[in-house]
């Protein structure tokens, strides 16, 4: 089973469940865990299964970089410093995991979005952190 490898020097993921493989030939991916008792899947790691309460070790899962748009909202007003408008969304991945993300590559207009439309994960460096590392974030864009 794949495990999140250490991030490449100078790059750090915005959240722990975004894996940044050090091999430049390997694309970044999201990591999840699957309950070995009931099969419920989660983003990132967990202490126990919140569906069946099993405390058996969870199976790490490398999540697909393709999914479907479940729902969205067009955010026009946000916290100070957050650029608007943008498309906030929930994307469903085939492993049964949902991801909260921005949808990139579309207008901030409900007409540009279709329920169930296929989307693909992309990553980019969005900021520098205090130690000078590039902070890598992900978003999804229509395929």
């Amino acid at each position: 089973m794949p495990e999140a490898t250490a991030p490449a020097p100078g790059k750090k993921p915005i959240v722990p469940f975004l894996a940044l493989p050090s091999d430049p030939g390997e694309k970044p991916y999201l990591t999840g865990s699957r309950c070995t008792n009931c099969g419920a899947s989660y983003l990132g790691t967990r202490m126990a299964c919140s569906k069946c309460f099993s405390t058996e070790a969870m199976e790490p899962v490398k999540l697909s970089d393709r999914g479907e748009l479940h729902v969205f909202s067009i955010v026009h007003q946000s916290a100070p410093g957050v650029p608007t408008p943008y498309v906030a969304a929930i994307v469903d991945l085939p492993e049964g995991v949902s991801v909260r993300c921005n949808i990139a590559g579309v207008g901030a207009d409900p007409k540009d979005l279709k329920f169930g439309m296929p989307v693909q994960m992309v990553t980019e460096a969005i900021r520098k952190d205090r130690d000078g590392n590039d902070v890598i974030a992900f978003s999804f864009k229509p395929v």
Binding site: I14, V15, A40, Y42, L43, S50, K51, H70, V71, F72, S73, I74, V75, H76, Q77, S78, A79, P80, G81, V82, P83, T84, P85, Y86, A88, A89, I90, D92, G96, V97, S98, V99, R100, C101, N102, P110, F115, I126, R127, K128, D129, R130, V135, A137, F138, S139
Partner: protein
Amino acid sequence: MREVAVVGVAMIKFGRYPEKTVPELAGQAALLALKDAGMDMKDIELLASGNLYQSNAMVGQRILQTIGQTGIPVINVANACATGSTAFREAYFAVASGAYDTAIAIGSEQMGKMGLLGAGGGGGSDPAYSTEGVLGSGLMPAVFGMAGVEHMRKYGTTAEQFAKVSVKNHKHSMHNPYSQYQTEVGLEDVMNARVVSWPNTLYMCCPTGDGAAAAVLCSMEKARQYTTKPIRVGASVLTSDPWTQRDLTMPDINTLTRNASREAYETAGLGPEDIDLIELHDCFATAELLHYENLGICGEGEAGRMIDEGATYVGGKIPVNASGGLLSKGHPLGATGVANVCEVVWHLRGEAGNRQVEGAKVGLAHVIGLGSACTIQILEKV
């Protein structure tokens, strides 16, 4: 468990009181509720105090330092938007258990203008790792926007139908002197207003503000000593979010409300058809339609039609948010869940003035706090 009655209620008009302290706002509501009950502080055996923003600051004790230090047990409660209603439930169980004969629940909050967009979310100490606006949004306007969009996806509900909720609740607010805003708005005004988080526009989002409300509870045996109009607590239910497929990513506001309403109806021994009025948690207009179905007052996918038909106006089949709802009345977090008990009690007593739901015998007060907590109180005229 023994029967419990609400024997006194009060709230102050929600709004902005920058010159007052939280204990002053809360103390004012508490004294009014005690007066309404014909009691004073020495009659009260327990205080449950709900306040979110000052949850580490012993608000309940500070209220008593303002209105009367009798040495009674004080429970300070924080439970997001369900803070006040959870305090009410603590007071209810204190009396229902038989341990105390009387209790007061006080909800208070001073939000100023920071409110719902004040928190950035995530990131720990280095803001470079803040996820807000980068990995979607965890702020309430987007969360409830997406919840509404999910209803659109499932049932074809339209942005206009959600907007109609705002028109209704603003219309109701015109008759509520306790409402932070008393402004009528037309459908065009709502639809054309600045978008906050689509489909919710400015008028479809509750304002932030300050406020306080209080309710005095008493065992039913002793209630008649204080009032000729005791209101029975038929059910007081609290649920949290159970596992559902997307809940950890996209808060599921539906399942815990459905669990709470099922339990509340069962406990009270009645069903949605027996309810004469509802105060529900319309923090955003989208939420109200979802809760019509969650509370069982219409079938699955019928909420849009229900608002189209005007069934939830005062005078309609089942009036919802006669107070003006959170959209108009305001939503000082800790005060909200006690204030909606006040509203229902006033209707059941026939004291709701021009917004009175005629002949109301049973009312339901619902609150949801994201994270998540849901409370439902069923109140009955005796």
